[in-house]
């Protein structure tokens, strides 16, 4: 009876794996799930059709999808998507798009959903210091945080229909300033290893980078690290005034665990803390706390992980 519409998350025109998690979220909410895949061509939509539990795939194809532009994306997607509850990823663009789509349809938007139980949605408020439980009476657009739902499997074979759209872009990218490093962004990563002021010198972050390479992880930082050292960019900052992350594993090294840092990472599935001070507040939130200097602990960690993961 009720239809749920997943707006696929894409990166550089390819389907992002979080889309399969959104399908699980949608199947929790409604009886029938449609995926709308915004792209300049139908390739990503074809890969979405193999996600299990999807009744229909709509390839929303248009030139406007070459770069993110909120206004034209919302216009084009709105005309492809049937009515119902819209589900986006709680990524930077996913949340922006959810807001636009909701406004376009004059419905409400509920961001950062971390739980769906029957008709009850749960979202963090006050940076995770409390949770808000709500129900919808009517359509809405919601965004769902990564790692909230297990990804739907594959083996589906939903029909793909292509809908060509044209919408005028309202903003124009004049220049892309590529990231200095090829490193994974903390907002994208399933494992994050972050360093704080306890790392003592930005050069010591190289130890974290080597571990990150072994784990396929991103490197993050506390605000104290970002503020103290020019070499550590704000884009690495996790916390209230940095990025909010929800990885499977968060490893905090030389980070005290201030409330504003916790605000950005407390929902991580597993937290490991390495800190030399047994009284550091981070230990209260860690699943596994290691009381040690990083100088002692990281070489052992690196050796163990190399042995395990190659």
């Amino acid at each position: 009876m009720s239809e749920t519409i997943v707006i696929a998350e894409t990166r550089d025109g390819e389907l992002h794996p979080v889309t399969a998690e959104l399908v699980s979220a949608a199947n929790n909410l409604g009886d029938s799930t449609t995926i709308v895949v915004p792209s300049t061509n139908d390739a990503a939509a074809n890969s979405a059709s193999s996600i299990a539990g999807v009744s229909k795939v709509i390839a929303c194809v248009g030139d406007c999808f070459a770069a993110y532009d909120a206004a034209s994306w919302a216009e084009a997607i709105d005309s492809c998507a049937p009515s119902g509850v819209i589900v986006c990823a709680a990524s930077q663009n996913g949340k922006d798009l959810a807001s636009r789509l909701a406004a376009r349809r004059s419905i409400s938007v509920v961001q950062d959903v971390v739980g769906i139980d029957g008709g009850t949605l749960t979202q963090p408020i006050y940076s995770g210091k409390a949770m808000q439980n709500l129900s919808l009476n009517g359509d809405a657009a919601i965004s769902v945080r990564a790692n909230t739902f297990a990804a739907a499997g594959d083996g589906g074979s939903a029909e793909v229909s292509v809908m060509n759209q044209s919408a005028d872009v309202a903003t124009a990218v004049r220049e892309m300033i590529a990231k200095a490093s090829e490193r994974l962004d903390v907002a994208e990563a399933d494992i994050i290893i972050s360093g704080g002021r306890g790392m003592q010198d930005p050069a010591n972050f190289a130890n974290l980078e080597r571990l990150a390479d072994t784990l396929g992880a991103a490197v993050g930082a506390s605000r104290a690290a970002v503020d103290t050292w020019e070499e550590i960019p704000h884009s690495m900052q996790v916390g209230q005034t940095g990025k909010t992350v929800n990885p499977s594993l968060y490893i905090a090294v030389g980070i005290s665990g201030a409330i504003q840092h916790l605000a950005g990472m407390r929902t991580s599935k597993y937290i490991v803390a390495i800190n030399k001070d047994p009284e550091a507040p981070i230990f209260k939130h860690a699943d596994y706390g290691i009381v040690s200097t990083w100088e002692d602990a990281l070489p052992v960690l690196e050796a163990e992980l190399k042995a395990l993961l190659g």
Binding site: M131, L136, A170, T171, H234, F283, A286, Y288, A297
Partner: protein, 264 residues
Amino acid sequence: MGFQSKGCTLRGTGDKMTEIAVLVKRVPDTNAQILVSGDRVDLSAVKWVMSPYDEFALEAAMLHKEAKGGNVTAITLGNADCDKVLKDAKAVGVDRIIRVWDDSWSELDSNQAQSALANVIRDLGINIVYCGKSAADTGAGSTGPGVAERLGWASASNIIGLEFEDTGVEAMVPAATGNARTGVSLPAVISCDKGFCKPRKPNVKGIMMAKRAQVEVMSSDIPSSSVNIISHSPPPKKAPGQTFEGASEVPRVVAALRNDANVI
């Protein structure tokens, strides 16, 4: 020198003055403890402040005026308790302060709040709106793009750099692969991250002016709400963690991550 450079950039968009608005919200201080009593958060004891990113939005609005002329209107949506954030904005030099409210309203959902803000912004003839990338209470980041959509305007969100141009702005927008230097024509809504400017502090004269300033109150039609808040609850308690002493215990933690937690 400063005089001259000011003189040649004073013109706004075409013949029309740039009408700048900034959205400022009253929120609990980010250090405040948030208690849940019964099934609602109890905010009776918290200290209230202007939402941190709104300070950057306010500074951006003031810089825009200084670069291109025009007027800055600070707008908040909320009851009379929210006058203080408007006075704070007045103290750093905004021209006009407006509170959007109707005594028949209580808590508004996003659809209602954005509609009210968008209606007032339209009525005021504003052509650029600055707001925070997300408010410290909701963390949502919905208002900027939502208001823009309702007005049929362009928007750029989470911006970390800003240049003022005669018919728009150039914003630095973070993207997955780097930062996009993005041209945005007016009218537009710009939601601000921190880092590209340093919010100014009010001076004594500003504070005195703010004391005397009148808050204008405006109302608007709003749609009905489509979300029901059932309850608030404290964050889920995690099972107590384990603590290990010394680097020699690291292999046990790695084994647990592998075998118990299944995350590596």
